[in-house]
Amino acid sequence: MHNVLFFKATLLFYFLGTALFLLNLWDSRSERAEGDKPSWPQRFALFATAAGFVFHTIALGIQLKEDGYIPLADLQEAVSFFSWAIVLVFFWIEIRYHLYILGSFILPLAFLSLISVSALPSEVTTLNSTLLNTWFGIHTILSVLGIVAFSIAFLAGIIYLIQDRFLKSKQLNSLYSRLPSLDLLDQWNKKAILFGFPLLTLGIISGALWSQYTEGTLWGKNDSKQALSLGVWSFYLLVLHGRINIGWRAKKAARLAIIGFVGVIFIFVSLKY
């Protein structure tokens, strides 16, 4: 079980990355301009995160090889994949937009989700062969990616509220100067939900098809999870409708993205039962 070792290394490096990124919140140096090299504390944080990501990828790869199916069968594996994907998104944002400061928000989320499931006992040791269905694989990958998008909207919402607070209270400190503009955060919120919504929709449809395949009914026995998923889905549908047609943007949109994510966490938790 090499992958256990790699998971531990991943946790260790994500912890380091989180700690360094949080320390960087208090670093009064300004955000670097396009083309500048990161400062040393920033490089350490990036390095730790990159190392954690490499170990994580290896661990997932080993698991895939050993199990012979995409490692997404239970809550633990789904969350592990979630945290892997969100770190990948962070690197994409860092390279594309140089918004290094977002690491201080994404890394804690990746680390916390990973540590919270690693505390749980791993339950799926003998996997029901019905789970190996293609629909199941599609269902879980799409759903988790949808959730990654919603968590980006959630973080954009949190940062929006922080930045809004700074502007309103006229506390123009160094963190204020490093956080992105309200407009950019609102754009990300919107784009992330626009991106996540179709993924969740397809995830739910493929889940129903999987249920049809294994249990002969679109609405399976695990109906609390399905009800929750539909609830969250409707909520995001409402949010999109409100944004496009009623003007639920800016601060309101930020709050809604945060509320939506609470529902998403409940879906995750319901996977357990």
């Binding site: 502007l167 006229k170 123009l172 503009s181 009623i246 800016a250």
Partner: protein, 434 residues
Amino acid sequence: MNMVIVGLNHRTASVEIRERLAISDARMGDALFRLTNDPVIEEGVILSTCNRVEVCAVVKDTHRGFEVIKKFLAASDAKLSLESVTPSLYIHSSSKAIEHLFRVASSLDSMILGEPQILGQLKDAFDHAILHKTTGIILNKAFKKAISVAKRVRTETKIAESAVSISFAAVELAKKIFGALTGKSVMLIGAGEMAELAARHFVGNGVDSITIANRSYERAVKLASTFNGMPIKFEAFEDELVKSDIVLCSAGAPHYLITREAVEKVIALRQNRPIFFIDISVPRNIDPEINDLDNVFLYDIDDLQHSVQTNMATRQKEALKAEKIITEEIVSFARWFKSLDAVPMIVALKDRAEAIRQSEIEKMQNKLGDLTETQRKALEGLTASIVNKLLHHPLTALKNEVHSKNGNMILETTRKLFALEEVLSRDKTEKKED
């Protein structure tokens, strides 16, 4: 040979004197020619901005150099005399001159600490001098170094960061709310000087739609024409609020012109698009309570001034870091500068040749085995004579040419040709240890 600076700035001279001494770009070539006409001046650069006029020069004799430059400055306006200008002038030589140049380039000597224009002006002054061939090896190196020091200060400290004027502070805030300002619209309520200045900054940062409401409609029309803006009747401003992302109020009314109720309605009509109010009127013309509404941001003159003061204090703190950087850089520059002296150069060259000769003799002795006294003397004599003959002309040239127009270049070339940097700097450290 020495490097000197003679000049005046906003602290030492009134604007009446500064404007008389100022040298426009058009007259720069002529002035540089006049300056370097005197044989005591080997190299010269003239920096002339609205806050300072300075001559940076390499002179053969420090004292005479000062006199010549002072006379040169006083001669730039017929109404000025040497006596009337001298009290306003500061003079620096050698490492003090270098320090001054570095501080000016890094904007530590500027009226507004850290303002970025001075570096560009300094580069222009340097370019003029290059164009008119009045710089040589020393000023070329000094100015290039000053520019790189200034850049280092800019990147390693926060001296040039964050706005230190009210209108810039307003623009920075707007950028934190709206991101890029392209496509945003600004409304000015009241068209005073301050509003005009702020509008200029907003336009400079990408705002393309400006609406101007003013009690005097003619004034609104006049101001609008300079920004390609739209003048409206003063009473119409309330209807325009819906379309405005940024509202700058300097109307000077005795009461609130913009009330909470009005803004509540506007924000609903704007479908929650944020709106940024700047109230620079005293007494205030916008109800401060509107800052409690979602997606509404209100800054009054005190808020802006407070942010400017905080930023100014940051710059002063950063200036201390900048001074440290400059001290470091002066040490390295001064070392190079001293190495241009002929005597240590000659000594170093001789040392290098002697060292080579000795080591070659040693090698040869190892190969030939025991030599008789006569043979050894012959070997010594032969090698010494080759070395001396080879060095004779370079050394004579160094001694003779060092005070000529090309002296510094010859020194620098010698240093490079014979790779003497190492020998010269080793000499220094040894001396220090003594």
